[in-house]
Structure formats: structure tokens, C-alpha cells
Symmetry: C2
Subunit: 195 residues, 2 copies
């Protein structure tokens, strides 16, 4: 068996494919678009990824991983957990508009676009969203234990609210392009929960 000599390339390829899928969606991206973007001929392409759906699956995980990295980074640069989460929200909603192919969350775009015909991709997206919600709810509990959040706050409920806001605000930005309105609404998210 040959050693996997193309490991780095595979990550690059998945990353390029992710960006294209994020921009144009599953049905809007043809396998030829993808093959051209990643500079692979059909044989290599299908040998490496099996099918368009499998590559999309990997692209979803690539997207989610990057999103989680941004959360970690925001947390480590912030003086408190709550400020870290708020910095993350600001970063993902407003701070990358010129660097990414869409204002909207790729997972949200996926559950919006796809139906039962791609049930696995929908389920995968839902699961990744739920994972982020759980992650945030854990962080909020830590923040609460550190005295950043009022004691009566239910952190699971607040995490749900954060995800709803993220979904709503990113969609609203795509719809209206109104950064200052979105900025105001981000500031309100934790306003009644903070100490």
C-alpha cells in the first residue's frame, strides 16, 4: 500500500471545495466547477472523494472546524468568557465579510437548500449546529461559575438564544447589508444576562 503522499493537498482541496460549496450551494455547484477549482481530473476526483455528496460532507466538517477555531481564538484573546463569546459573534457575523464567500452560515445554507433527497447532509449540518450550541452552553456555564452571568440564567436556554441570534443576524445581514443595525443587536444579546 502506498503512503498517503498527498495529505496536505487533500486538505487544500477540501478547503477550496468548501469555499465553492459555501458560495453556490450543493445544487448550484457542478462537479466540473469543483474539478476546475481544485485542479483535479474526474478520475482522481472520484478516487479521492467518491461522490459529490461525500465531498460536500467533508466540506461541512471543514467549515465547522474553521468556525470552532475562530471561537477558540476569540476566547483566548478575550478577558472573560462572555466577552470571548461576544467577540466570536462579532467576528463571525461582521468581521469576515470580505474574506468569505457568503454572509450566511454554510450549515444554515445547507439545511435551507437541501431536502430528504440529501438527508445525510441535512442531518450532518443539524448535528454540527447542535454541537456548537452545546459548546456555547458549556462555555456559558463556565462563565456563570466565574460570576460573569446572573445565577438565575439557564445556560442551555441562553445558548439556544445565541444560536437563534446568530442565524437571524447573519441572514439579516445578507438581506439588508445593514452592518450598524446588526452591530446594535449583537450588543443586546447578553445585555440582560450579564452581571
Amino acid at each position: 500500500m502506498m503512503a498517503n503522499t498527498a495529505k496536505y493537498d487533500r486538505d487544500t482541496v477540501v478547503d477550496s471545495a468548501m469555499l465553492l460549496f459555501w458560495e453556490k450551494g450543493f445544487h448550484g455547484t457542478s462537479t466540473r466547477d469543483l474539478q476546475q477549482a481544485v485542479n483535479l481530473r474526474p478520475g482522481s476526483f472520484y478516487a479521492a472523494f467518491g461522490s459529490k455528496e461525500q465531498l460536500f460532507r467533508e466540506a461541512l466538517h471543514c467549515y465547522s472546524k474553521k468556525s470552532n477555531e475562530l471561537l477558540q481564538q476569540s476566547l483566548s484573546n478575550a478577558p472573560s468568557i462572555l466577552e470571548g463569546i461576544e467577540a466570536f459573534i462579532r467576528a463571525i457575523v461582521l468581521g469576515q465579510r470580505d474574506k468569505v464567500p457568503s454572509d450566511m452560515c454554510m450549515l444554515v445554507k445547507t439545511i435551507a437548500e437541501l431536502t430528504d433527497e440529501q438527508a445525510e447532509l441535512v442531518a450532518e449540518s443539524k448535528a454540527l449546529l447542535k454541537k456548537t450550541e452545546h459548546h456555547i452552553s458549556e462555555l456559558l456555564r463556565e462563565g456563570q461559575a466565574a460570576g460573569e452571568l446572573k445565577a438565575e440564567i439557564n445556560c442551555s436556554d441562553l445558548a439556544q438564544k445565541v444560536i437563534v441570534q446568530l442565524m437571524g443576524l447573519r441572514t439579516y445581514l445578507r438581506s439588508s447589508d445593514d452592518e450598524s443595525a446588526v452591530e446594535k443587536l449583537i450588543t443586546e444579546i447578553f445585555s440582560t444576562s450579564k452581571i
Copy 2:
């Protein structure tokens, strides 16, 4: 010139097409899917609508019209404007899940799916969303004049917030299926603005 003998049928056709587009999206719906759903052969189909994009455009307006009708209906059945808007939110987010083809807003699905390649459809969807926001902001002003809302509330800002919540909550419902969480969050929307 022949009389338009098929006026009623055309509305029925647009309505069926709207439901199919709403469920499967623009790229996910083929012209054959549409032709079968509305029982028209290609010639009649293209004579009536010109192109897939034009029919989608009509479908967007059909969707928006129905949404506005639901708002009017909610208002007329409610004892106050604010309660009418809240009833509308409840109705559109939770009250139709078994009667419509998707939990999510068709306009949101459209701006999520499409790119500059269908710029007109994106612009149309954005405009219809903005129209609803303006409508709600006017209603809130009426409610404020009637003493239902605190005087210091900015009704344009609150209308923005309502649209963000609608986008977020409908997407969250699609993602999580958690009706009770959504129900709780709807109740919170006006909680700090009411008198």
C-alpha cells in the same frame, strides 16, 4: 385578442409552482418537476411564464402575498396590534408546520440559495423582506400611538429585531425541531417593549 379564459387556473398554477419551489429551491426544482406539478406541457408552460426564473419571480410574489394575508388575518382576530403581530409570529413560525412544505421562510431560502447568477430573484426577495419590515414598523407605530408600546421604543429598530427573530426562529425550528424552545423565545420578543 382572446379573453384570458384561464385566469383562475393561472393562479392555481403559480400556487402549485410556489409550493414546489418553496420545498426544493430554485436549482432543486426542474422545469419537468414543475410541468408535472401544474399539469402543463412545455409549450403552454413557456408560453405562460417565459422561463423558470420568471415563474420563480411570480412564485415569490405569491408567497409574499399569502404571508401578508396571514398578517392581516392575525391582526383582525387580535384584541390589539401588538397581540396581532405576536399571533402572526406564532402562526407563521409554529402554526402551519403540517400545511406548508418547509419550516423556513421562502424568501430566506432564496437569498440563502441564490447568487449573482440570479441577481434579480435575490433582489426581489430582499425587497419583499424589506417591505414586510416596513409594514411591521408602521404597525408598531400605530400600537405605540395606541399606548401599547413604551414611548421610548424606536419602532424601526424593533421591527428590525422582529424580522431578525423571525429569520432566526424559523431557521432554528428547521434545525432543531424544538417547538417548545421556539415558543418560549417568541414570548420574549416584546417582553421588554410592552407597557
